[in-house]
Symmetry: C2
Subunit: 151 residues, 2 copies
């Protein structure tokens, strides 16, 4: 039945789901799903498109994720929040796989992402200002309506 568990759980809380039971270093796909908030489907899909490093397999061919894999998924989760396209994350993953000589390129990619995040925050703060103006307008309108009702 795939055990979607808590699929993403829209309610607020620790961003990356539950904390991992430390000491362990081998997780099944459904454990990783629970830990990251991603579905097992998505985890397999990430692997297919080259967003994951090579994932270990059990003697029967089932995926066994390590703590290192979870760290990678945590980073991917953060990058996803910035709105970075999956294709760009795949590019980054390729650079990591390619070895140490890609440090420079990775550095640049991260810096560009950082700039994006900064301007995104600025945008959101601009939006917040608009929202606050509208909200205080509606608050006033509400008060006016209320006083009209009690008059």
């Amino acid at each position: 039945m795939e055990t979607t568990g808590t699929p993403t759980d829209t309610c607020a809380g620790p961003p990356q789901g539950n904390r991992r039971p430390d000491g362990a270093d081998k997780y099944t796909i459904s454990e990783v799903a629970a830990l990251t908030g991603l579905t097992a489907h998505t985890l397999r899909w990430y692997e297919r498109i080259g967003l994951m490093p090579h994932i270990d397999r059990s003697h029967t061919g089932q995926r066994r994720y390590t703590n290192r894999d979870l760290d990678w998924l945590a980073l991917v989760g953060k990058l996803r929040l910035t709105g970075m396209p999956v294709a760009d994350m795949v590019r980054y993953a390729e650079l990591v796989r390619a070895g140490d000589h890609t440090y420079g390129e990775r550095f640049e990619l991260l810096q560009r992402t950082r700039e994006d995040v900064l301007s995104r925050i600025a945008e959101l703060q601009g939006t917040l200002a608009v929202l606050d103006r509208k909200i205080s307008f509606y608050a006033d309108a509400g008060r006016a309506l209320a006083s009209e009702r009690t008059r």
Copy 2:
């Protein structure tokens, strides 16, 4: 030829495109496209799905946007930046069309959106922290490599 003009112009700058030539109060669809950064396609689509108020037409049936319409599009643009689904914006538009008795509901919708924006900003700041740690790691690695090369 549809005159996409400056389609969205990924480069930084004034978020809502150019400033409107004030005094005027009738804009063709391509003027609005240039002003908002949306395409004419998207403007027509917004109308079809009920995201726009009724748009005036010229005697031959062409759209003539007013400054009020531009203001609405500016708000929509801001809400879009927050990641609000178009369906929710349509809901808000419906409330506006429904009249004054929906003030309360609109107020709540805006407040919920405000909370979303706040937590989005917090998320992005968390991501920024992660990014900064990674960036300084790569900066150090770069320096180490450089000193190795000159050694």
